[in-house]
Amino acid sequence: MTYVLLIEDNMSDARMVEDALKQQGPDTYRLVHVVKISEAIRLLARDLPINIILSDITLPDSQGVQTFTKLRKAASDLPVVFLAGAHDESLAVDALQKGAQDYLLKGQFDRKILVRSLRYAIERKKFENDAKSARSKTRNLQQKTALLKQQKAQLVALNDAKDDFISMASHQLRTPATGVKQYLGMMLAGFVGQLSENQQSLAQNAYESNERQLATIDDLLKVAQLDAGHLTLHETEVDIVVMLEDIIDEQRSKLEERRQPISFEFQKPHAVVEADHKLLRMVFENLVDNASKYTPTGKPLSIRVSKIRSKIMVEVIDGGVGIDKANATKLFQKFSRIKNPLSETVNGSGLGLYWAKKVVDLHRGSITVESALGAGSNFTVLLPSRRDQ
């Protein structure tokens, strides 16, 4: 059904149109007829389902291009076809040039021509509307592209400034702490004579506090580098078992001091992964160190390496204080330090596990934790194994 708004003050012309459209059969055209432009505008404001406007070019309250301009203003997306007599054809031509879809000369068209003109006008207007919206979309996209380019340049500049800052901060924060380390280190090494027990203890505390400061600076810088997207992996073949044996050896004296026996289970042949050796080692050092730190003296730790299909699974298991379920998800977030019976005495920046997870993610792996309060934790790292295994 096509709804036609007919604006025609000449009743016989109006009837001619009405008859012609009726002949097209029921339910093809429905006519809404008014005689003035003012009435038409009021109707159009009511949001009726009009598909096309068919209007006399000379009306009692409007003429020529003015008629078209008013209709455009009232309904910019509707097609307009004008009816003109021989005396005012030039007005219809003007309206055509302004954007009307078509005009018909009164007395010179029949039903077929009228219907074809209406159909054609509707199609043409639809095409024009589509083209207009495509043009506006293109313009929008061009504006957005320009904006994005500008924003990208700003981001690059900001990122450069951030890199400079990281580099400078790294240098400036470490330098004075390094001075403290050397001077206290000399005292502790006995370079200026034997210290009394009290002096030794105080200097040792100061030295350790300074070491903590340096470790925190390192953690901050590591995370800043990672967040800035500057961590590139230098991947080689890494024998996970050898790496873990190394880490256990390195931490053995500390573990013995805490009387924490450590067991290590693995299968042969050894699991090999493609990884950045230095970074992956730091991840596992962190996990083993955490397991020991959050486990009371005298309780055991264990590490297990196994192969599951195309993955290598490393589990670091402790019988420590554990974490409740609600906190387990927070564990890998930045600056998250979970309160537990040992957190008051154990030092940490709250960045270690955040960093570890990011590094494991970069290796296309995953890190998860299973834990229960008071029952210890099981940290599981899954890494893709080397393809030919």
Binding site: H171, L221, K222
Partner: protein, 120 residues
């Protein structure tokens, strides 16, 4: 024979600290505050080993390495508090035999490190 060390470090506190550490451990220490001063000291005497900072005013450590051309002549240990690995990679090509993070070196480690590099 006492080993002769040229220490090139711009930060006065650290220069003094490392010089003290080395002297306490029996080294003969010459100091310079930047690369240019380091080059001048090299004309006057030939050390057994050089400890070289990287970030310095006037002439930085990398430029010093380029100009001094010490590869295979005098071993150089570079040390800095930079965490930027791209810079440290270039140093090996320019003749640095070891690169260490200053904040990681305790006084006793410095002695061990020098002995290791000198093969003693």
């Amino acid at each position: 024979m006492t080993a002769h060390v040229l220490l090139i470090e711009d930060d006065p506190t650290l220069q003094q600290a490392f010089a003290l550490v080395l002297r306490f451990q029996g080294y003969d220490v010459e100091t310079a505050g930047n690369g240019e001063e380091g080059l001048r000291k090299l004309k006057l005497s030939t050390p057994h080993i050089i400890l070289l900072d990287i970030v310095m005013p006037v002439m930085d450590g990398l430029t010093f390495l380029q100009k001094a051309n010490l590869r295979g002549k005098i071993p150089v240990i570079t040390f800095s508090n930079l965490s930027d690995t791209t810079k440290t990679e270039g140093m090996a090509r320019l003749g640095s035999v070891r690169h260490v993070l200053k904040s990681n070196v305790a006084p006793r480690d410095l002695d061990l490190l020098i002995k290791e590099v000198l093969g003693k």
